[in-house]
């Protein structure tokens, strides 16, 4: 009985959202606002249990590491974001979190540029590695805006556009698959879990 009611609620809310496909209506609006509220309300107890207690309360009150009071106070400065005169105080917690970007300079360079370049420098011993090489070079030329895309340079960089079109086509094909999968998941719920029609 309890499971039936639970499924009934979930199915009602699912159908309320689907009703938007016909036209905007109060059921959809209700479900949409409910979703925002529940999602945010959901994060509060979890943040309290999993973050505040182990990283603020326990170190200060149980382990007596009073130095942790300092970052806790800096964290509280976040809340001044909404004050007209004191919003500058919220910059302190933000910049402390931002500092770690220093690490991303060498690491992004390594993973997204150097390793990719190394992988593009394979011996051109078959047609596929040759095509990958041509594609990568011509696309990089296409995105080089310091030189006008005219004449021979324009023609070469235009080859890159054809490669990109195939790449975007592949992404589009996969996107169709992804969107359909999400709908399949919901229909599986309605037909299977709710109505029991899928065995």
């Amino acid at each position: 009985m309890f499971e039936l009611i639970s499924n009934l609620v979930a199915a009602f809310l699912t159908l309320s959202i689907f009703s938007f496909l016909y036209k905007d209506n109060p059921f959809y609006k209700f479900a949409e606002h409910l979703l925002v509220g529940v999602s945010m309300g959901y994060a509060i107890p979890l943040a309290y249990e999993n973050v505040f207690i182990p990283f603020v309360y326990n170190p200060i009150f149980l382990e007596r590491r009073f130095i942790i009071i300092v970052p806790a106070i800096i964290g509280i400065l976040y809340l001044f974001r909404f004050s007209k005169n004191l919003s500058w105080l919220a910059r302190y917690p933000i910049v402390i979190f931002m500092g770690i970007v220093g690490m991303s300079v060498p690491m992004s360079m390594h993973s997204s540029v150097l390793v990719q370049m190394r992988s593009a420098m394979l011996p051109l011993d078959n047609i596929n590695t040759f095509l990958i090489f041509i594609g990568t070079i011509t696309i990089l030329m296409y995105f080089y805006f310091s030189k006008e895309h005219k004449g021979t340079y324009g023609k070469i960089s235009n080859v890159g556009v054809w490669f990109m079109m195939v790449g975007f086509g592949a992404s589009f094909g996969y996107t169709v698959m992804a969107r359909m999968s999400l709908l399949i998941g919901r229909i599986q719920f309605l037909l299977g879990d709710f109505l029991g029609l899928i065995k």
Partner: protein, 207 residues
Amino acid sequence: MKRQIPLIIVMSLGFLFFAHTFIPHKFSQDFYDWYVSWTKAMSPFAVILGIMSLFMVHTTKIQRKVPNWQYSFVTLGALVFTAFAGFAWGTNEGTPFMWLFKNVQMPMSATMFSLLAFYIASAAYKAFRARSAQATVLLIAAIIVMLGQVPLGQIISKWIPITSTWILNVPNLAAKRGIMTGVGLGMVATSLKIILGIERTYLGGGD
């Protein structure tokens, strides 16, 4: 001073982290451990910021009686009740809090995104036109990849999945690598701009 001191902090930390990547010395590790324990203690307050922001948006809507303001009560009520359920009865399996997640949040969130399946089908019919040779190549690549992903593609012809795999592994790979290299350089440049104090938008407006 309200901007300078935060900028000095981000620049100093940025350079220290840059150095930390290359220096496995104990001092470097101690600095890192200190940073972690401090950011851990600061992090719960960011959640409060998000809650306050949502509260302010919806209370303003109610006060100003903007169109559909009544629904803001639903958002605020749901927020308060869900949080209350978590504190009052706990967050474990079998509690009202988890019931709300499984039967309210989860189905609605999944359904909201599944609407995109209808929109992409409508777009396929009304907007995806082979207006040029390049658009035609895009559509053909998309169709082959679509067929290559499903069992039916293999039944139609064994060449469909083979061609689909080739598209993904060769021209698609080249295209994504070219784009990704540009993005990677952009990320490095943005990070450098932040630690050199050139990019400051994250500090917000005001003095």
